[in-house]
């Protein structure tokens, strides 16, 4: 890996770690969502240093374009009560849980960082190859692997996404249609629970 690739990795890794810590430590969920956005964009840099260009594009489109926007919509919908009230009785267990999780994670990380399997050279297309020979991580190569090798899981994912959309609409819609046209007043119905 050349110097620019190394710099891309280290800068992206530092930003990813810092913004991940920011995501879980921000008290305002909107700031946490923006921190998650920075985290996702820095992971895009990690993917680029691994020469996964199509996956970096999908990461920006799906996560930064859809998931984070969905989070921000829900935060805006919920309003100021999305801010978490401080619970003083849970501080001890919270610190204990954080220290335990970070300790076990650091043990795992220090064990894994010793693996120094070297990069294999990326197989190149032969000189006379046509358009069907795709570059590593590009649209042609990953698309061929996806549609030829993983056809059935791909179709199952499409079914999963359809079911998720229908389920999300059904859950978020609630039972407001039966009660809301009747009472015009701003009072909430008592039998909601």
């Amino acid at each position: 890996m050349n110097t620019s690739g190394l710099m891309l990795f280290w800068v992206s890794a530092a930003v990813a770690l810092g913004s991940a810590v920011g995501t879980i430590s921000m008290r305002n969920p909107l700031r946490a969502a923006v921190s998650l956005l920075i985290h996702i964009l820095s992971l895009c840099g990690i993917y680029l240093s691994l020469k996964a260009h199509l996956l970096a594009t999908i990461q920006v489109l799906v996560y930064a374009g859809a998931v984070v926007v969905l989070f921000i919509f829900v935060i805006m919908l919920i309003g100021p009560t999305a801010n978490e009230q401080r619970a003083p009785r849970a501080v001890g267990t919270r610190i204990l849980g954080a220290v335990g999780a970070l300790l076990s994670t650091s043990v795992l990380a220090f064990t894994l960082v010793r693996h120094d399997a070297q990069l294999l050279p990326i197989p190149q297309c032969p000189p006379g190859a046509g358009a069907e020979c795709g570059q590593f991580g590009g649209v042609t190569a990953v698309g061929a692997e996806l549609y030829l090798g993983s056809m059935v899981p791909f179709e199952l994912v499409s079914i999963l996404l359809t079911v998720a959309i229908v389920g999300a609409i059904a859950v978020a819609k609630g039972k407001t249609t039966a009660t809301s046209p009747k009472n015009e007043g701003p009072t909430t119905p008592e039998g909601a629970a």
Partner: protein, 100 residues
């Protein structure tokens, strides 16, 4: 530079996500922590794929993880809206309807 740095980065990010999921009481932050964990797994998948570049199975699997994460975010946020409509809060300690 070997694969170890990527594996360490993935495991640390997973640990940060797990810590956020276990210590925060805000449902929205917990969902964001789940996203961080899924992204950490994706980093490891893509790193293993780069260190065995004869096929693209790792990247395809990361693609599926992204699709499942998008579905999970949609359903999870719908559940958050339903929970907020019922309890007027997003703190998970309020979800104790099955206790009594």
């Amino acid at each position: 530079m070997g694969i170890g740095e990527y594996l360490a980065l993935g495991s640390i990010l997973f640990g940060i996500g797990a810590t956020g999921f276990l210590t925060r009481r805000n449902v929205l932050i917990q969902l964001m922590s789940i996203e961080i964990m899924l992204n950490a797994v994706n980093v490891v998948f893509v790193a293993f794929n780069r260190f065995m570049p004869s096929n693209h199975m790792g990247q395809v699997f990361a693609f599926f993880v992204i699709a499942v994460a998008a579905a999970e975010a949609a359903v999870g946020l719908a559940i958050v809206i339903a929970f907020f409509r019922l309890k007027k809060t997003v703190v998970t300690d309020a979800g104790d309807s099955l206790r009594n």
